[in-house]
Amino acid sequence: MARPVVQARGLTKMFGARLAVDHLDLDVPARVCFGLLGPNGAGKTTTLRMIYGVTWPTSGTIRVFGMDIGHHVRAVRSRLGVTLQQNVLIEALSPKENLLVFGRYHLLREPELSRRAEELIDFLELRSHAHLPVRQLSGGFQRRLAIALSLINGPELLILDEPTTGLDPAVRLALWSRIRELRAAGTTVVITTHYMDEAQRLCDQVAVVSSGKVIASGAPTDLISTRLAPEAVELDCTPGEEAVLLDRVASGRRLRVGKRLMLYLDDAADLIERVRRLDGGDRRPIIVRPTNLEDVYLSLTGTNLEANP
């Protein structure tokens, strides 16, 4: 197997007394889309910053393209691209001019510079507004431009920190398709997201991070099949009803958020029968659906908001 593009061993970062990343191990293979998932404050962004060398590990090692980032910052960064959580655009300039400015950060020269900028304007469908000041463009347009900037050097590794937060469904779909195209062309993608449907559809592999540690990793389908039963049932019920209903159902995991109960079963038929009997004529809504990555994520990181301040 080829050498991983990113390899972290025992990666630890302290900010004063706060432990942001705690002995994290990570292997990102080449040419995959890798999802880094976890609650706010879990250490995802800090981990990304250590990958491109602006945050220095307190201990542990990190190698990118097989190089020690501490000694080869420029060499590593010349081969990767990063889209930050916040769009960093020059609002008075057009998308084309933004691309030219950013390309110069990589020391691209004409005519290569303009050629790359034009390619990316087409690739991310920016052509219609390529010459308007960025401040006049919609949020989705600006986000696409921010991603275009991180592709200007033709990176082998693309790091996307919450690329689709706040975007409308059409723009999200368009971005997913671009990310798939990049991966198909050989780019390794590391993405953080809070949307588990996005991670499940896009990522070949994911790592769930909590309190600075990887608590689960693998292909989304494998994580789902090994962690939870295949059928998810959602219904509203009180804890008292839950005790009666599930008295003899030796089911696997349950999650409760307020009145909402989620159960994971191999076969939901028996449970539905029992709920219907309990309800009599007044039937409560029950949702039965395939278990997904969000269920796995919640079962791993919990539904308690206090846990990750």
């Binding site: 602006v54 910052v73 420029r74 060499a75 960093v88 020059i90 300039l93 950060y105």
Partner: protein
């Protein structure tokens, strides 16, 4: 040392690309400010002053105001503009996703501030030439003083901008630092004729005094040994502050 000139120039070019868009709106107020001072004080007040420092009052004002124009050009750039790029726009965070390093960011920004000092000081110098207030050829030496003034005030401003907790602090910088410098640095009256010896020693600490003395010596074409001290102060202070800024910029952008 991880400074690379090509990367620093790419930072410089970012600002230049933006400036090309906005210069018409930026240059007018900054350019006219010293011009207004020159004619209001020079011609207005000057009518009541028969001579100062051996010349007409307006000719006395001219070299100092060249330095003030350069000081203003650099100062706006390294205060509000840098702070906005650092804190609100996160422009430097984006640069650090490319091979650009914090030293390149600092060098590019200082170089750009010196460029703006050159634009403002240079334009003002042209006005002086047109009005016959810049004696030739000696006053051409003042063209070297303009970037030195820019460098010094870029260094001072950058250190300040990297260390303040919020953007409101800049009003202190302008009203309690730059304005008194403007008024008490040999621009409007010769300090030596008005201050007692102990106060003259205090005045030697003022950063604007040294470029102004250099510019005045250039305009007069009379260079004494004190020019060496003024050059040493301007370059030495710039260097010390830039070394300090280098540590600060690393601490702000990486951790």
């Amino acid at each position: 040392m991880s400074l690379s000139l090509p990367y620093a120039l790419s930072v410089w070019r970012r600002n230049a690309a933006l400036y090309k868009r906005t210069w018409k709106w930026n240059i007018l107020p900054n350019f006219f400010e010293p011009v207004f001072y020159l004619f209001s004080i020079g011609i207005g007040v000057g009518a009541y002053v028969s001579e100062m420092g051996g010349t007409s009052y307006i000719a006395f004002l001219a070299p100092g105001l060249v330095c003030v124009a350069a000081m203003n050009g650099a100062s706006f750039e390294v205060t509000y503009n840098i702070y906005v790029r650092l804190v609100f726009e996160k422009a430097y965070d984006a640069m650090l996703t490319t091979p650009i390093e914090p030293d390149d960011v600092l060098a590019g920004e200082v170089l750009w501030a010196v460029t703006r000092a050159g634009i403002y000081g240079g334009c003002f110098f042209v006005v002086l030439l047109l009005f016959g207030l810049a004696p030739l050829p000696s006053s051409f030496w003042a063209l070297f003083v303009i970037p030195l003034t820019g460098l010094l005030f870029a260094a001072i401003g950058v250190v300040f901008s990297l260390r303040i907790p919020n953007i409101d602090m800049f009003s202190f910088y302008f009203t309690l630092f730059l304005t008194p410098l403007f008024l008490f640095s040999d621009v409007f009256f010769p300090l030596r004729e008005r201050l007692t010896q102990p106060w003259l020693w205090v005045a030697e600490a003022l950063p604007l005094l040294h470029p102004v003395r250099l510019a005045r010596a250039s305009f007069k074409g009379e260079f004494s040994l004190i020019v060496l001290w003024d050059l040493a102060y301007t370059l030495g202070m710039s260097l010390l502050l830039l070394l300090w800024a280098r540590r600060s910029v690393r601490a702000r952008l990486t951790n």
